[in-house]
Symmetry: C2
Subunit: 336 residues, 2 copies
DNA sequence: CTGAAAGCGCTAACAT
DNA sequence: ATGTTAGCGCTTTCAG
């Protein structure tokens, strides 16, 4: 029995064993549901544990088994403003709770710690970015890694949950064309992630096929509205005939909408507007903005689940899973 | 030396001690900067550790010291969509990294786990809500708790970081009145948190002083836009003379703006609109919406810092800290 | 089916 | 200023 900060004492497995009249080995086996013990003794142990309010000392288990009971979730700082990622975090944490794992959040600043090694059994990386030193550090720990979206470098982590963003970008462009747009522009992300690269690639390819000159501006993911507005303004001033705009990041469409209106456009009629990432703000804009639902929560769940399969040995290294997305058509691309 | 998943071996403190030609106690003391050891030996140990790529086995330390090196951060699920909380998470994690602590995220679903006891040294609770069973569970662990915002029940956790939301709501109402509003309405939150209670309290008190009848509707924090629109519509249909609206939650203003415009109002002129929580969406709405900056990141930093002070014994139980906010005036309350 | 004993890596108490 | 020893609570041999 050990004193806790609460002043009461925490029962150890020895206490449970004594209460149940068995050895601590048997108590341990019973608690973990090993087949070794008879049903009768297992029940006795379980009852004893409940009576004593026993809960396992994870440090002791960790030391013995060389596991931690936690997974790490790396979130690049740039993502603070995106609902996609907040939902992703929830997905991961919920799924982990179901498997009795804790989730430790890792953010970029931690690279400052000299030789920081996260105290976890595996890692989930969100949207790994080329040349992120923290991604480098984390992948070189040797821990199994599952990433949401592929590595732009093409490197293969133990598991990948990815979506075909290029395909949905094409679908969105086709939709714009069907609604009358002749010359869609793109405001991409400066971030070199698989996501941003594929969207830009799909956009250029679509333009080539459609025989139109691509019009691209870029802004950092999560950039201030004022910066986005400046980039968009410069882009539109330098081109003629642009009649639709796709924003890659989820803040772009909201940021440029007032600029477009101020320029005399009627969004959804003479000018179409859409986003490659949905957010609740886009639903309530007037007009509501067409967007690709990137399913943050589902992606988080899928990543965590895959990591647990890898940890249990139920999945092989190199596994990958495609998560389908959905194009949500709203008024901003109604057309005339 | 222990095999890691990476295939290479991890050095233990014994390896470091052997390499440096000292006992493992001395190695341990040197590594932790205890005054026991001479400068010369400390250097030798540090060099040995670096050479071997030593990093401490936290499970072993945990077992020995009865500490975990992690703090828990409880996030009620209802908050997914709010930037305030995402920033808060960042604040906590960054501050924790600086003190070499990990952050374990706890979400509501975990109460399903039979007798879940988080494996942490202390807890940060975001906006504790009356009757949340998880808050109950967590506060009864006996671990030191710091909450962002006070408990609505009046209970005193070990530490509190709070803001005077009532005062800023009053300031906002005075501002609306100065800009010509005669009858401001409130769309509050159904959540029984200190934050929502104080805003509603301040609103009612202000109305009493101003001699106007309060007009209140409520919606759950983070509710769908459609629900908010319905509530707002019903409220405005049932009252006459309402010429301003304050939304408590950060999604309210964006949700009702189109409804108001559709009803023939010109926001910022004949009808003023404001929010008690800022978000980037409100900045880019047209017109931009006046809001109270709730300083999520700073609150997170302050909570984590206070928790570490409590853990070190540098602060007393019952400490509290007021975090000042800021009213950001934008075009939606320009007035005629 | 169950028990006894060893030991994971670390730090604290007690030596010197 | 440093070393020796014990032991945190658990799981895993190895013996019955």
């Amino acid at each position: 029995m050990t004193e806790t900060l609460g002043g009461h004492v925490a029962a150890t497995i020895v206490d449970v064993a004594r209460e149940a009249g068995v050895s601590k080995t048997t108590a341990s086996d019973a608690l973990r549901g090993h087949g070794r013990v008879s049903d009768a003794t297992r029940q006795a142990v379980l009852v004893a544990a409940r009576n004593l309010g026993y809960s396992i000392n994870r440090s002791a288990r960790s030391l013995r088994t060389q596991t931690t009971g936690a997974i790490g979730l790396y979130i690049p700082q740039v993502l603070v403003r995106s609902e996609h990622y907040m939902s992703f975090v929830y997905g991961v944490v919920n799924e982990a709770a179901g498997s009795d794992y804790d989730v430790t959040v890792i953010v970029a600043g931690e690279e400052a710690r000299p030789n920081y090694a996260p105290h976890v059994d595996g890692l989930v990386l969100i949207d790994p970015v080329e040349d992120d030193p923290m991604v480098e550090r984390l992948t070189s720990t040797g821990l199994p890694v599952v990433s949401s979206e592929r590595f732009p470098s093409g490197r293969q982590p133990a598991g990948v949950v990815w979506s075909d963003h290029g395909r949905y970008a094409r679908e969105l462009l086709d939709h714009l064309a069907a609604r009358g747009a002749r010359r869609p522009a793109l405001i991409g992300s400066t971030t070199v992630s698989d996501w941003s690269m594929r969207i830009q690639g799909a956009y250029r390819a679509w333009c080539r096929l459609a025989g139109v000159e691509p019009v691209i501006a870029v802004a950092p993911f999560g950039a201030d509205a004022s910066l986005i507005q400046r980039e968009a303004g410069a882009m539109l001033a330098g081109e003629t005939g642009v009649d639709a705009l796709i924003g890659a990041g989820d803040g772009v469409a909201a940021a440029v909408a007032p600029t477009l209106t101020a320029a005399g456009h009627v969004i959804g009629e003479d000018f179409l507007l859409a986003s490659c990432v949905d957010s609740s703000a886009l639903q309530v804009l007037n007009p509501a903005v067409t967007a690709i639902d990137t399913k943050g929560g589902e992606a988080g769940v899928a990543c965590a689940r895959m990591l647990f399969e890898l940890l249990r040995g139920d999945a092989d290294r190199g596994t990958s899973l495609e998560l389908p997305l959905e194009l949500l058509i709203r008024e901003s691309t109604r057309g005339r």
